[in-house]
């Protein structure tokens, strides 16, 4: 029983993570953890942006200068 409830909880966590990631990506916010671990792995000499810097970077990328991706119609 313990195994199955553990299993269920994991599944639930996977599901909520998927929904939250999906909702954040819909408004242009990618996964910070994925970004940070990518930088740590590929550029160990660089410090990754903080979570807040990442948030602002993505906000600007969606609507900011020289970018047309925030636009949609149908």
């Amino acid at each position: 029983m313990a195994v199955s409830s553990q299993n269920l909880r994991e599944r639930w966590q996977t599901l909520t993570k998927c929904v939250c990631d999906g909702a954040r990506l819909m408004v242009g916010q990618g996964d910070y953890e994925a970004y940070a671990s990518h930088i740590r792995k590929t550029h160990p000499d660089q410090a990754p942006m903080t979570e807040l810097e990442f948030f602002r970077n993505r906000e600007n990328a969606r609507f900011g200068v020289g970018n047309r991706n925030g636009f949609r119609c149908c």
Binding site: A23, L25, Y35, H38, F55, G64, R68, R72, C73, C74
Partner: protein, 685 residues
């Protein structure tokens, strides 16, 4: 045996879909349950996805799950990130779904539900989803480049520039038509105007909260905003009834038009975090939530369609928009069947986020099927309301007059019996003083949605709430689009003018920003003002222009796809894109031609201008003009519209010619000439 177990279940789905379509198409005299339409649509989507998209993926594109995608190759954790397929599907769908699939089908309902339904289904399977999927594929194989860059690389510099100019013009027309929808929904409606205006301080509050108080907490701030929005809707009813505040929030179309122009200008030069980003959260989540809610509502309530399968207006005499079924139905329903705009999204952020080539099928083809389903639900919503109410809401004031008595008489004369009392009651149900001539799709959709959702939750007492909820939800993402679109236009103008005056390119320069923004706002503002003051309701003029431009962009994108298929030496499969390209060219060129030269002044811009200039020469003043100046203005507007249609026709023709030349050249070559990035296998972990 193997074939039966492999294809048997799909054959059953196909049979169910065929049966549902047969019921929908042949039921006469009795009203059809909307669920049959839903079942027919879903079966068509399932079969198309299982077989046609697989055929395209395997034979035409030869998707290779082992090949590196741009997200893997250029992974930077920011723009290029391998992303979970389901998460990316949500992102892509949210990016393509907007006002288009909600408005077009509502307008098309004047011909009955059947023509619109059949075009939505056939269009998405053979044109819309194919375009989205193949553009996504082409961009994915080329480091996620944009449509303009792809056309320049595969077709040449000149077609690339032509496509850029076309995109800019579409944006202008689109922004004007979207703003017009908001004006039509809010004119003379204090409740609606109050709630929509309330979104501005709410969004600013959210912006400040997520900038200084709890940065990055999107969920939290969105819930806060949502609660405030709901309060604004509830409180809006009392504001509308208040003796001072009610009139203070009651505006005419022209007043709202100027407010929107001013809003567009200010909003698009403010910092993004203050207004645009927080409202984007609200509009995105509300949009997804409402779409899900509407789907559940239709499934639970199972409403009956009141609109006939086909009305007599297929002959082109309809009051909502003019022109015969061919070509105008195929122009009116653009998004939902095939939308050129999606080619910009499919070559935007999505291709940079795909983790595995095989995912492109679900995201590109599947995402568009989902959007098409939204269009089907919009069609259902428009057809569940009484046709008398539908035509009262969507016919121009020039035909209906402004009182319930004149409107009821005019609509009854059209062949859809309705009493003045029924019109007054319908307005009262949704908490408005009048519903006459609320063209533009949004109010009709709102009445339909209120009808469906209130049958599930809240009953008649909640109908006014749901109506204003639906108006708010549409206005919210239209305002977001106006803001984001004006910004995007501004960057385009700065890029273009920057070619001549390099200083103009500097996006940190306030002078350049303000000049470029003013240029964009006055461009769409011009068409908006023209639409608001048009006695035929504006939608009549602007929606076909928008439809033509949107389908034109789709034809351009599909031409690119065809050229790429030829360059890959897979021309035996090129019919997949040639058929929709040819069809879209036929539709846009015929419609463009008719909008310019048709002898009926209700359709042709030039004959409309002629009528007014003849009258002007005789010294007469034709309504709605009240003096000679307004007469000249109408003539000038007509000529501008005609010129725009000429430009669109020219664009389609020139890109088609460039496309044919590129195809012939590729056909004569004996080897692969497409310019993909080199194929590299996914590195082993």
């Amino acid at each position: 045996m193997g074939a039966i177990s492999k294809h048997g279940p799909w054959a059953l789905v196909g049979a169910l879909g065929a049966a549902a379509l047969a019921i929908v198409a042949t039921e006469r005299g009795e009203s059809v349950n909307a669920l049959w339409i839903v079942v027919a649509a879903i079966c068509v989507y399932v079969i198309a996805y299982r077989y046609y998209s697989l055929f395209i993926a395997d034979k035409v594109m030869r998707l290779d799950p082992k090949r590196e995608t741009p997200a893997v190759r250029h992974n930077d954790g920011l723009d290029y990130v391998p992303t979970n397929k389901t998460v990316l599907f949500g992102h892509h769908f949210a990016a393509i779904a907007g006002a288009g699939p909600l408005v077009g089908p509502v307008l098309a309902a004047q011909m009955g539900y059947l023509p619109g339904l059949l075009w939505i289904l056939a269009g998405v399977v053979f044109a819309g989803a194919v375009q989205d999927f193949i553009v996504l594929f082409v961009s994915m194989r080329r480091d996620g480049r944009s449509l303009g860059e792809l056309i320049r690389a595969e077709l040449g510099t000149v077609p690339g520039v032509i496509a850029l100019i076309g995109t800019f013009l579409i944006m202008i027309i689109l922004l004007a038509v979207l703003a017009l929808i908001v004006v039509k929904a809010l004119a003379g409606s204090p409740w609606g105007t109050f709630t929509v205006m309330a979104t501005i301080p709410i969004a600013i509050l959210m912006g400040v909260y997520s900038r200084y108080i709890r940065p990055g907490k999107i969920g939290e701030v969105s819930i806060l905003g949502f609660v405030l929005l709901m309060l604004a809707i509830v409180y809006g009813g009392s504001v509308a009834e208040h003796p001072t505040w009610g009139p203070a929030f009651t505006y005419t179309g022209t007043q709202l038009c100027w407010m929107l122009i001013g809003y567009g200008f200010v909003a698009s030069i403010l910092p993004v975090w203050l207004l645009l980003a927080p409202r984007d959260y609200l509009s995105t989540f509300l949009k997804i939530g409402t779409i899900v809610g509407l789907a559940l509502g239709i499934a639970v309530v199972a409403p009956h369609l009141q609109m006939p399968a086909m009305t007599k207006f297929v002959d082109g005499t309809g009051p909502v928009w003019s022109g015969q079924l061919f070509p105008f139905l195929f122009i009116t329903i653009a998004c939902g069947a095939v939308s050129g705009f999606h080619s910009l999204i499919s070559s935007g952020t999505t291709p940079k986020l795909i983790a595995n080539e095989a995912d492109a099928r679900m995201i590109g083809y599947g995402g568009m099927l989902m959007e098409s389903f939204v269009a089907v639900m919009a069609l259902v919503s428009a057809c569940v309301i009484d046709p008398g109410v539908y035509f009262t809401m969507n016919s121009p004031a020039a035909l209906l007059g402004t009182s319930p008595e004149t409107a009821a008489a005019a609509v009854t004369k059209l062949g859809f019996a309705i009493t003045p009392d029924a019109i007054t009651a319908a307005a009262k149900d949704v908490g408005e003083t009048t519903i006459i001539s609320r063209a533009g799709g949004a109010p009709t959709l709102a009445v339909g949605m209120a009808h469906i959702i209130s049958s599930a939750i809240g009953g008649k007492a909640m109908m006014a709430f749901w109506y204003h909820f639906a108006i708010l939800f549409e206005a919210l993402f239209i305002l977001t689009a106006v803001d984001a679109g004006t910004r995007a236009c501004r960057f385009m103008v700065q890029d273009l003018v920057g070619l001549a005056v390099p200083a103009f390119k500097d996006t940190t320069s306030w002078a350049a920003n303000i000049v470029a923004t003013a240029l964009c706002v006055s461009a769409w503002g011009y068409f908006l003002y023209q639409g608001v003051t048009d006695p035929l309701g504006g939608i009549n003029t602007l929606w076909p222009l928008f439809g033509i431009s949107n389908q034109m962009l789709a034809a351009v994108a599909l031409t690119l796809c065809t050229v790429v298929i030829f360059k890959m030496k897979r021309e035996r499969y090129a019919f997949v894109t040639i058929i929709p390209t040819v069809w879209l060219c036929i539709c846009t060129l015929t419609a463009g031609w008719q909008k310019i030269f048709h002898a009926d002044p209700r359709i042709g811009f030039l004959s409309h201008a002629d009528r007014y200039s003849t009258a002007l020469a005789e010294g007469k003043v034709l309504p709605p003009a009240k003096n000679v100046e307004q007469m000249s203005q109408i003539i000038f507007n007509d000529r501008i519209d005609a010129a725009l249609a000429v430009v669109f026709v020219g664009l389609v023709v020139s890109i088609a010619v460039f496309g044919v030349i590129a195809c012939i050249r590729a056909f004569r070559t004996d080897r692969w000439t497409a310019l993909e990035s080199d194929a590299r296998a996914v590195p082993a972990e």
